[in-house]
Homo-oligomer: 349 residues x 2
DNA sequence: TTGTAAGCGTTATCAG
DNA sequence: CTGATAACGCTTACAA
């Protein structure tokens, strides 16, 4: 008996390892061993007793206590720039599946497009002892590189590189995908091209796509002509003008081509088209990045570049888990191919 | 000095409370008090020393250790049936915001539409000592009620009731929203109605909407006629037939009306319309539940019922946090109003 | 093969 | 107001 009163035990809680030990008439260590080294060092009869006690008490170890004790949590921190973005969600799903298969749980932190919160997110997740990070943000927002470095945990970057950071990187093969789109449109007779993108800022994917677009034009220099225009929210006039200018440049018999850098831009273009009274596949050919569920429903159907989102997420998770398993070596770069989905917007009538 | 070698301290880790205590020349208890009871019981000079040590070491308390010690984690478990569903995501966003404002972190578990995993999800989250649950699933899938009950933690249900469960419930006012849609369509001249829903199974929202539809028809018995049809994936023929039958029933001068139970059904109907070569707002009037970003782009624009998703999520989180704060009393029921968004599909030409 | 006890990073009780 | 010290639930040397 202790002189001091022990903190009272909250009446009916989950069974703890001590309860099991008591019930089975063994020590806590033995119960712990039952879970972690069962076969190797436990006699059958004791194992049976422990097993029975576990069953009757409905015991399962507390991951928190385990994490505290082991220093690792089997938790993976996933930070997304914007959970509203279907791309992010699709990637998330893939990653989550892979993690669960490997016995990891995903802790999600959504930045809600507030890039300054990146550091905060990392610190919060690190507090919960996540073993590693999957980051689908970065570029803007300071301190993230340091924040990650400070905790010294493995990181995988998805879709957005970050300069100062030596980390595995998983993404769509932007150059390949853009080439697919451009070649398809060229085959359809297009000579004048317009690439519409969200403001590029520091988002690596946007830069890569714009650069790839430029390269495609260069390959057919003299015959293909392209322009890149940044589309901003609420800048409808600029968008309309860019489209009109494009159509104005086109020579007869050669339908001009528009490529959208992502689904957000596609949405804006579709709105502009109704505003202008134009029809996809008629006034112009169109291909957009990101194959949304509604792409088939707009006008004659929108041709798109489908990203292997699920594979991207799964690959990212796998990468990270490999690193957690101790894999060494330089940062890897995994570029997955996109797929051209043909619909009316880019086909000849 | 201990006879036994202590487990070696991993070289450069996060600073712990002990490090801070040492640096400030005080006890761990004092450092702890600095965070939890600063003003009340800490002399200014000691507080200053602690503060300095915290700053130089970059210390912040480990939430895991806190959770272990306190028995509460400031973590909220959020279980969604399907993260792919934009409705769920929108709610998630609202809830997350409210939680963060209140100093809680959300742990997300996605069922991926595998309803049998509900129990697993709850146990996993309970393992991490979440203080309470927000559930956006249930109905199907066994054991969830017991699983929740077993842990005895507060729960808020979103959008889907569950019979055996006494818990706060937050959702769209389905009856009100349906009435809005029906009255609008009736004003537009519709007399023959078709309500298309996903298979109702045990999903309470689907039942409520179907029942509300029936009630609306009953209110104008004799003049309004309605049918409810369940639309299944890959049952295109049945859908087409239902639509044709509806149009067949309509008397001249009275455009028939179609109401879609959610965005998934809306998508199917839109596809059917192009298949049939019909045009929204022409062959029939249309209103669908859920205001998606693409609703304005389909045909003349689709009229919808916009759910206050953000408010739903926020409300759910607030509810839960109130309970965590000790609020007693019977289960509450919070029904938030929907908003009718008018577009071409339900307007007279 | 099993038990003992230290330690993971906190908080809370009790004595000064 | 401050410091020891026992818990929280678990793992893991080390001893037996």
């Amino acid at each position: 008996m202790n002189a001091r009163a022990p903190r009272q035990k909250p009446a009916s809680q989950r069974a703890t390892i001590a309860d099991v030990a008591a019930a089975a008439g063994v020590s806590k260590a033995t119960v712990s061993r039952f879970f972690n080294h069962r076969e190797r060092l436990l006699s059958p009869d004791i194992a049976a007793r422990v097993e029975a006690a576990i069953a009757t008490l409905g015991y399962s170890p507390s991951p928190m206590a385990q994490a505290l004790s082991r220093g690792k949590s089997r938790l993976i921190g996933l930070i997304v720039a914007d959970i509203t973005n279907p791309y992010s969600v699709a990637v998330l799903r893939g990653a989550e599946k892979a993690c669960q298969d490997a016995g990891y749980l995903v802790m999600l932190f959504n930045l809600g497009n507030d890039f300054e919160r990146g550091r905060e997110a990392i610190d919060a997740l690190a507090g919960y002892q996540v073993d590693g990070f999957i980051l689908n943000t970065l570029g803007r927002g300071a301190g993230v590189v340091d924040a990650v470095a400070r905790h010294g945990k493995p990181v995988v970057l998805v879709d957005r590189r970050h300069d100062g950071m030596e980390a595995d990187f998983v993404s769509l093969d932007n150059a390949g995908a853009m080439a697919l789109a451009c070649e398809h449109l060229r085959d359809g007779g297009a000579r004048e091209f317009l690439y519409l993108t969200e403001p590029q800022h520091d988002v690596s994917t946007r830069h890569e796509r714009a650069a790839a677009f430029g390269d495609c034009m260069k390959v057919h220099a003299g015959v293909l002509h392209g322009r890149v225009v940044e589309s901003r929210e609420d800048a409808n006039d600029a968008l309309d003008q860019a489209l009109c200018a494009l159509v104005g440049r086109a020579s007869p018999g050669h339908r001009p081509a528009v490529i959208a850098g992502n689904a957000v831009v596609t949405l804006r273009i579709a709105t502009a088209m109704t505003r202008l009274g134009w029809r996809f596949g008629d006034a112009l050919s169109f291909v957009g990045f990101d194959d949304t569920e509604w792409a088939p429903l707009v006008g004659p159907g929108l041709s798109t570049i489908a990203q292997p989102t699920d594979a991207i997420g799964r690959t990212a998770a796998t990468c990270l888990i490999e690193r957690l398993g101790g894999l060494e070596g330089p940062a890897r770069q995994l570029l997955l191919p996109g797929q051209l989905v043909l619909r009316g917007s880019s086909l000849s009538p």
